[in-house]
Subunit: 292 residues, 2 copies
């Protein structure tokens, strides 16, 4: 039998992947979760019918959502990851020895368990001594620390699904305000913000919201073959720093750079140079949204 | 009836597009040609089952294969396009008023005719007073001008199909030598060189061949959603110039820049900053192939 999984990324366009084996299926309290083994991209995690990650191309997303914000901050000691249940972001964050504590707050325990079982390349960091994993609603976690003011984070990474289902409220202005409140005085955050080919309106709205909450805001891109259009965006809100530059001492102390497969220090600037149709979406709103 | 066109870009992965209407089908002497109207990307030209161009995303490929080499040369008066039968490259090349003559040499007249009929956005430049269109084998055309030495080109753009069928010999070292011989003393050329996710071996071989023929060689990328992996590469062979810098007077005289949708002068440098897995393919071979 020839088995193909197709994700219709728009009403008329999608990707299709040959499946060697279906590994796991579960309706969790939050979403439909599937693990399949694909011919071309290896094991693939699918949530609500959308590709979340594959073993072959996960490095792009996880390196780029982690290292760009982490190298933008001179001293990221406390890092919070909202979402990221597969563990890939946690793995990348913990490569930075300057990080003393990496807290991951994932709403759906099923994602964590399935990653442990089927994605050891990603979930290896769950048991790291500097890691802390909580099964919690990320928005509620932020509200709690805002009330008690018991901790603030230098960098917050929002590794969410698309703005449907459990992640819907992670694309709203109130959430960005809660992030702002949970950050230290010179903190910054990043969120994955979908693709500019099919989700231009979302990018426009989200970047406006982030720019209203944060004094500085920027957008960068990376190529992810299994995500819609192959071009993914990430938006940064920052209280102080311009993420396009790295403090030199940060890179000197990063021997892991040569193990990476996508991120390169030169991309810290180049990833923020946008194609004109992308800058047009955020022109006059983000610092690097200029078409001239 | 729901009609979907699927291109299997590898043995186990592909894209799929909903078709509103099939417009044209022909077995030409060189390839199977199809024109379809897609729901998401508009009219789409398909050769031998592979997406060549769509009205919605063609601007990326055509702008990036044209403006990067043209802005890299201080005075590109004579430009040769090999392939490019749909007319998109010709349209972009002729935006540069410094170009006195743009010669296009396409082997398959059917591509030109179908583009005239179904892709007016691309084929508009065929009748331009500075354009010259020949239906000829590009390799043979180069051999002829090498023998007679009656003309040399400042910039040559190789807009070919994949290295199967008619374009196979356009990916061989003898072809790059013929290109070299047809270029002026400070000339440069660019070729589309497929994607780094599925065609790493091709990129490795082609860049080595180009670097052996040309004193300088470089690779850059652009995001094309309907092409395999969404990440496309272009390789430049240059006799003198580093394509990562633009002579300022060139951009000053380019009022058309604000009409473009992908190319931006800042990309002239940024498009050459490669993800590490891409630079690893061409490390030690191309000038910008460095992972450190």
């Amino acid at each position: 039998m020839h088995l193909w999984f197709t994700e219709e990324q728009t009403a008329g366009f999608g990707i299709t992947a040959k499946i060697k084996k279906t590994l796991y299926h579960e309706q969790t309290p939050y979403q439909v979760l599937d693990m399949v083994e694909t011919e071309t991209f290896g094991p693939m995690l699918v949530l609500d019918g959308m590709v979340m990650t594959t073993v072959r191309d996960e490095f792009v997303y996880h390196e780029m959502i982690s290292h760009i914000p982490l190298f933008a901050h001179p001293n990221p000691r406390r890092v919070l990851i909202i979402g990221g249940g597969d563990g890939g972001v946690l793995r990348e964050v913990l490569r930075h020895s300057v990080v003393e504590r990496a807290v991951m707050v994932e709403i759906d325990s099923a994602v964590v368990e399935v990653s442990k079982a089927y994605l050891p390349q990603l979930s290896s960091a769950f048991t790291h001594p500097r890691a802390e994993v909580h099964i919690l609603d990320g928005f509620r976690y932020l509200s709690d620390i805002a009330e008690t003011r018991r901790v603030s984070y230098d960098v917050i990474i929002v590794d969410s699904t698309e703005p449907v289902g459990p992640a819907e409220k992670l694309f709203e202005r109130g959430f960005y305000q809660a992030i702002f409140d949970a950050l230290s005085e010179d903190g910054l955050f990043v969120a994955q913000t979908d693709n500019p080919w099919f989700k231009g309106d979302l990018i426009r709205r989200v970047s406006r919201d982030i720019a209203q909450v944060f004094p500085r805001a920027f957008l960068y891109t990376a190529n992810i073959p299994t995500y819609p259009s192959g071009l993914w965006t990430f938006t940064i809100g920052s209280k102080v720093y311009d993420p396009r530059t790295i403090a030199p001492h940060r890179v000197d102390r990063a021997p892991f750079l040569k193990e990476l497969r996508y991120y390169h220090p030169a991309l810290q600037e180049a990833a923020f140079v946008l194609p004109r149709f992308v800058s047009a979406l955020v022109e006059g709103v983000l610092e690097n949204g200029t078409t001239i």
